[in-house]
């Protein structure tokens, strides 16, 4: 892949690439990943297939919205700091505009009888969506009984006191490091993938 010359036109192209794909992804940031791959790997040929796999692996281990992280890192790898900023703005601006319009509509109509009734029906579905996100994550990330115990412990801690969320997250990470290292010392290393997924 030849190095593209980074000029204003190229930066604008990056901006519009992300500007265009961002409003096409329904169903959260994960939905944007395949669309982004299609755009930057196959259509624009800015990054190679192996590169994008690495990028997606890296951004999943960073906090923040996945789509925003992915766009910024792709922009950064393609055209440095300015590229990152262009991709970042491109990915957030369209959905921001859409949400402002939706927000204004919600405020205008929220006291309408039918809107109230509709929202009454929608709220349980929102709870189901949250629960299903946890369920889907647990299928890949709850590798063994220790993981299950950490999940149970987090729930109990949060039920006891909601404000302990940072404590829960930080101790989860520390526990991970401690447990994995103890198991290595004991010569019983933890497999970091689920038994069913081992090749």
């Amino acid at each position: 892949m030849e190095k593209k010359r980074i000029n204003f036109k190229f930066i604008l192209e990056i901006f519009f690439s992300f500007f265009k794909i961002s409003p096409l992804s329904f169903g959260g940031g994960f939905a944007m990943i395949p669309i982004m791959e299609e755009e930057v790997v196959h259509k624009k040929k800015w990054v190679k297939k192996e590169q994008i796999v690495d990028i997606f692996a890296i951004i999943q281990s960073l906090p923040g919205a996945i789509a925003v992280n992915a766009a910024s890192l792709v922009g950064y790898q393609v055209a440095g700091i300015v590229g990152a900023i262009a991709a970042f703005l491109g990915v957030i601006l369209p959905t921001f505009a859409i949400m402002v319009i939706f927000g204004a509509m919600l405020i205008t109509y929220q006291h309408n009888f039918y809107v109230q009734a509709a929202l009454q029906g929608i709220r349980p579905v929102v709870v189901a969506m949250i629960a299903s996100a946890a369920f889907k994550m647990s299928k890949v990330s709850l590798i063994d009984k220790t993981c299950l115990a950490i999940t149970a412990l987090s729930i109990v801690t949060l039920l006891y006191h909601k404000s302990l969320i940072f404590v829960v997250i930080v101790s989860g990470a520390i526990l991970g490091i401690v447990l994995v290292n103890i198991r290595i010392k004991l010569n019983r290393p933890v497999s970091l993938v689920k038994a069913s997924e081992r090749k």
Binding site: L62, Y76, F88, I122, V127, A134, T151, S163, I165, L192
Partner: protein, 181 residues
């Protein structure tokens, strides 16, 4: 603190707890809404529904719409910047070493414990939203109609690949139907 400052601080805290999708930030978001008296939980739930129906990440969508409800277009702008700017800054500052860091043994090990903790946070969010919206633990202990809707939606979401937008539309129609009969 001015309104802008409190919105900025509240939403930049959220960034740190977003792992594996936007839902992990919900318990903290709910706490922030309560402490500042910005949005009730049912208003927050409605905002999340709209965020899930719209294109784009749930986290940034929720920040924009909640920010808008707090303080109009400026609230939306400040909340969105606070939630997304840390991502850009981290990539600009450590973008070059991220690949190496990710290969580090202890970095991987941290996620062995972090992911289950995040799952706990999301399950807690679901329980909490079910209670705050009076689906469970309300006056009648269990709001039967809502509970049925919730369980049916959950089963459809984990068993099929149906897009949540259709579920939300169907639930809206059911809600309207139940209110007129």
């Amino acid at each position: 603190m001015s309104m802008f400052e409190s919105v900025f601080v509240a939403f930049s805290k959220l960034w740190i707890v977003i792992f594996g999708g936007g839902y992990a930030m919900l318990p903290l978001l709910q706490t922030e809404m309560k402490t500042h008296g910005w949005l009730s939980t049912s208003q927050l739930t409605d905002s999340i529904a709209v965020s899930a129906m719209a294109p784009g990440p749930i986290a940034t969508n929720t920040a924009a719409i909640v920010g808008f409800k707090i303080d109009g277009i400026w609230g939306a702008l400040i909340a969105s910047i606070a939630l997304t700017l840390p991502s850009l800054l981290v990539i600009l500052l450590v973008g070059k070493v991220l690949g190496k860091l990710q290969e580090h043994r202890n970095f991987k090990a941290a996620f062995y414990g972090l992911r289950p903790a995040i799952i706990g946070v999301i399950i807690f969010a679901a329980i909490n939203f079910a209670v705050s919206n009076h689906i469970i633990g309300g006056r009648n202990i269990l709001d039967i109609k809502s509970a049925i809707l919730m369980i049916v939606a959950f089963v459809i979401l984990i068993r099929t690949k149906l897009h949540p937008v259709y579920l939300i539309i169907a639930a809206a129609l059911i809600g309207i139907l139940l209110s007129v009969i």
